[in-house]
């Protein structure tokens, strides 16, 4: 699976593996810009594709241990401030689902936010804080367009 290839071969353990049958959304990443389940893809299928994982968001290079001075992605900032995560297991999947969502819906309604969150499961927060975080991230992104785009 692509999820296993990332974690075991490349050491990119930011992508979490939950249900391994496409339901929980923990392993969500971007394949050529679209949010997809990496547990339902074979790594060989992605040869030549652009794969973007949670490691790409903050600009912190994988494997270097200590964080660099690069700031968190506005979505990550919002998650931290609004307490949109507790154990953090589901967080990478949520983030990678929400990055393309906010690019396409810069000013989403609560209804649209809930719809966007519906493909990922979280068992800690109860979703209300996730909704608040997405709202807040959307505000941040609108205020400062041109997100940091770190190469992964």
């Amino acid at each position: 699976m692509l999820s296993d290839f990332l974690r075991h071969e490349l050491g990119l353990t930011g992508t979490h593996v939950g249900c391994e049958h496409g339901v929980c959304g923990a392993c969500t990443l971007l394949l050529d810009g679209d949010a997809v389940r990496s547990c339902l893809l074979f790594a060989v299928q992605c040869s030549g594709c652009d794969v973007r994982t949670v490691e790409s968001l903050a600009g912190q290079r994988a494997g270097e241990g200590a964080a660099t001075e690069d700031p968190l992605h506005p979505l990550q900032e919002a998650f931290r401030e609004e307490h949109a995560l507790q154990c953090g297991f589901c967080t990478p999947g949520f983030l990678m689902s929400l990055v393309p969502f906010l690019e396409r819906h810069p000013d989403p309604s609560d209804e649209e936010i809930r719809e966007a969150l519906s493909g990922n499961l979280c068992r800690c927060t109860g979703y209300q804080n996730l909704v608040a975080a997405v709202r807040s991230a959307a505000r941040r992104l609108r205020a400062e367009p041109g997100e940091p785009d770190a190469a992964s």
Partner: protein
């Protein structure tokens, strides 16, 4: 939760894929891999253990949405590997097959539709899936190819049972053709599920065309998740023809369809009786919405047209 070992090939043309499919693997099952949103979970659970996987994702010719005009009107042609999300956002689908456009957001979640394909869903033929019931309502034609040749099968003859279609072992679904919705047609899709993105407990798709005086000249009513295969309610459709639909008639038509024309099973999600109850309500609502949209379409064309 990992697939059993399998051989993998990724042909770049349909001919190449058909050749591989025809040669097959005498020892093992051969499976075509489309979006993989149903097949790969089944492989991870080891419910499916194909020996050879033919990945269709590199075949560009299967991934396009095209339109063409003939004497009867416009025709929408969807390559089997068109992603569900691509169809969802296609202006051609919205214009020529609005029923399909309305149903697509109900297919699982965005992350699944980004990968799942139109053809994959139809070939998989899950009776709880939206697209088979929608294709039945749209009188879609399935284009099947093998090394032996090509044939077209009507949606009504394509779905044969639980996960069972008219596809022969050496055949591949390559495209789906849909006649453009009439300008004076109304359609509607609705389903009931426990949570957004879940499989529907029941769902219905309706299409209606009315004369200028409101008489119904054409009707389609189909259901998902109420039998082993998508169901078309032929008797209910007949009850509408030649009538001017009103609330009481729609209620009777919906009740008839739900009582006589479907065969819902009971499972942990819903009892058979509850599914019938849902089907009746969904049929009534989708027909009523389709009728009001058809009426509105008439108004629009009357204003636009010169005289009649």
């Amino acid at each position: 939760m990992k697939p059993a070992p399998f051989r993998y090939c990724a042909p770049e043309t349909v001919d190449e894929a058909l050749e591989l499919l025809a040669t097959g693997d005498p020892e093992d099952e051969v499976k075509l891999l489309a979006g993989g949103q149903s097949l790969v979970p089944a492989m991870n659970f080891r419910l499916a253990r194909p020996g050879l996987l033919i990945d269709l994702n590199r075949i560009a010719e299967l991934a396009s949405i095209a339109t063409r005009d003939d004497a009867e009107g416009s025709i929408l042609r969807l390559g089997a590997m068109v992603r569900q999300s691509a169809a969802e956002h296609s202006p051609d689908v919205a214009r020529l097959a609005p029923l399909m456009g309305e149903a697509l957001p109900s297919v699982a979640h965005t992350q699944i539709r980004n990968r799942g394909t139109v053809g994959g869903s139809l070939a998989h033929a899950d009776p709880a899936a939206e697209l088979p019931a929608v294709m039945l309502a749209l009188d879609a034609r399935m284009h099947l190819r093998s090394v032996r040749g090509e044939r077209a099968v009507d949606a009504g003859d394509f779905f044969l049972g639980l996960f069972e279609t008219a596809l022969e072992p050496d055949e591949m679904l390559t495209a789906i053709e849909i006649d453009a919705a009439s300008a004076v047609e109304g359609s509607c899709f609705e389903e009931v599920s426990r949570r957004r993105g879940d499989y529907a407990l029941a769902g219905a798709a309706a299409r209606v065309r009315l004369d200028a005086d409101g008489t119904c000249r054409f009707a389609r009513l189909t259901f998902l998740s109420v039998a082993d295969l998508p169901v078309r309610a032929l008797e209910a459709e007949q009850m509408l023809l030649g009538e001017r639909p009103h609330d009481e008639l729609l209620r009777a038509v919906a009740e008839h369809a739900a009582r006589r024309e479907i065969d819902p099973g009971s499972d942990i999600h819903a009892s058979s009786a509850f599914r019938r109850h849902l089907a009746a309500g969904l049929a009534r609502r989708t027909l009523a919405t389709a009728v009001s949209r058809a009426t509105a379409a008439h108004g629009a064309t009357d204003h636009g047209g010169a005289s009649s």
